[in-house]
């Protein structure tokens, strides 16, 4: 390795000092939070007045993250199976194929993506009943 004097190459990197006078790129999380983009693939929502319990979502999920379960919630009258999807977030990869194949378009992904819990069983997630 040869070392030679390169004045311009030595001085030009000093321009980085100008960064001291710029606003930082980072935000003061958690006091300042960055808004999630519309259409972000977060948690599932399932509008039960529309869900027909067809299990297309379960069928397409390559991670076996969805199982159809019975709950005590009020279902759509057309829900023949009387089951609704439950998501295992230990397995889900948020590909959103389940929402693509949902015939009544009841299963969707919302912007929220934070789930803090001390119970491993909370990975089994019942989608919120909303649009």
């Amino acid at each position: 390795m040869k070392w030679s004097v390169d004045i311009q190459g030595t001085l030009s990197p000093l321009k980085i000092l100008g960064a001291f006078f710029q606003k930082p790129n980072t935000i003061a999380y958690p006091t300042v939070k960055k808004a999630t983009a519309t259409g972000y693939r977060g948690f599932h929502t399932n509008l039960l007045t529309d869900c027909i319990g067809c299990a297309n979502c379960q069928d397409v999920c390559m991670n076996n993250a969805i199982d159809m379960v019975k709950t005590d919630q009020e279902y759509n009258a057309k829900n023949a199976s009387q089951c609704i999807p439950r998501i295992d977030y230990g397995r889900c990869c948020w590909c959103s194929l389940c929402t693509d194949v949902c015939p009544p378009d009841s299963l969707k992904l919302e912007d929220d993506y934070i789930n803090v819990t001390k119970y491993a069983s909370d990975f089994l997630y019942m989608p919120k009943n909303k649009e």
Binding site: D6, S12, P13, T36, A37, G39, Y40, N56, M62, C95
Partner: protein
């Protein structure tokens, strides 16, 4: 220095690479006598997994073959399925795909810049590069709903249309990038410490590069003007104006210069795409898009990734599943044939520098 012969493992976690891969180094003093590449830390069996899933189920895992730039995988997968199934994509979808691929190339080059500068201790540059890459990821988040694994380029088109005002935001980012990239020249590319470390290190001759099938910046830094986008144009690259930057020195610095020039070209391509974006549908009409049936046939498709030629072989057997898919990326030949020979005679402190300049992505070796 002592003449004692020692063997050390460089990795599997180190700044020279994105992913886990180790190099066993035989040293005398600080000079490397022999280098042996070891992989196996990331094997997930993508090629075999694909054979057990239907086409759309396989679509969601191909992007995971390379973390820094998942989109060439998605594009290759979609193009192979389309070729086998005889589907033709709409012009708008093609332009959107080019936009995604170029944004992804730009993001991958920023990640390279972060790694390359980090490998010689210029950490401020790395932090700048990661912050600027994040601006591109913000656009991806808006367009695809995900930041890293986009799962967006789908056989038959793309999954979503552009959000309102998206092209304007891409233009704003490109204007910022044009100014910003010049600052990287000052603090990194023209930096005397980087030049002194990189010039004359890891030199590859043109004959060797051609004979061994090296691709991407490794080949272009030896003076060979090879780029899939020019040599076998796909999507709409034929109608776009861009140059293939080359250098002749074949060393780490030449590869850095090629990468830096490619960032300018990506910005130039994106500017054209923003201007030329046609109206129309982004996905062709398919009656049962859950049931792709690939005929008994095979195909070979390739794209230019940020690290070089990236190809897929795909064979169908008339069922809903892919009979065989093979991934041919630049990493295998670069990590074995090239790296092992390039490190002999190099200094220990140059290992991460050389390795980062080759564009090796270990998960792609262990697909």
């Amino acid at each position: 220095m002592s003449n004692k012969h020692i063997t050390i493992f460089h990795g599997p976690q180190h700044p020279g690479i994105t992913g886990n891969m180790s190099v066993e180094l035989d040293l005398i003093g600080e000079t490397i006598q022999k280098a042996t590449t070891h992989v196996g830390y990331l094997h997930r069996g993508f090629e075999k997994l694909v054979e057990r899933r239907t086409v759309i189920q396989a679509f969601t895992i191909v992007c995971r073959i390379c973390v820094p730039e998942p989109d060439p995988n998605e594009a290759n997968f979609a193009m192979a399925v389309e070729e086998l199934a005889g589907l033709e994509v709409t012009p708008r979808a093609e332009y959107i795909r080019v936009m995604v691929l170029e944004l992804s190339r730009l993001a991958a080059q920023f990640l390279w810049m972060a790694g390359q500068s980090g490998s010689i201790g210029l950490y401020a540059v790395g932090q700048w590069a990661i912050a600027d890459r994040d601006l591109i990821l913000d656009l991806f988040e808006e367009l695809t709903g995900a930041r890293v694994y986009h799962m967006y380029i789908y056989p038959g088109g793309v999954r979503r249309d552009l959000p309102e005002g998206f092209l304007g935001r891409v233009s704003t980012l490109l204007n910022y990038m044009k100014k910003r990239l010049k600052e990287y020249d000052d603090v990194f590319i023209n930096n005397a410490s980087f030049k002194n470390r990189a010039i004359g290190v890891g030199v590859i001759s043109q004959e060797e590069a051609i004979a061994n099938g090296y691709v991407g910046q490794v080949l272009r830094a030896c003076g060979v003007e090879a780029d899939v986008r020019k040599d076998a144009p796909y999507l709409v690259y034929e109608s776009l104006d861009f140059k293939v930057p080359t250098q002749t020195a074949g060393d780490v610095y030449a590869r850095a210069l090629v990468r830096r020039a490619e960032m300018d070209q990506s910005v130039h391509i994106l500017e054209q795409v923003v201007k030329m974006m046609p109206e129309g549908e982004v996905m062709i009409k398919m009656p049962t898009h859950r049931k792709f049936k690939l005929p008994k046939d095979d195909t070979w498709v390739k794209v230019e990734s940020a690290r070089g030629e990236f190809a897929y072989y795909m064979a169908g057997d008339g069922s809903e599943k892919i009979r065989r898919m093979q991934v041919r990326g630049p990493s295998l030949v670069h990590a074995y044939t090239l790296l092992e020979s390039l490190l002999v005679g190099a200094e220990l402190s140059d290992v991460a520098l050389i390795m980062n300049s080759l564009g090796i992505c270990p998960p792609e070796i262990e697909r």
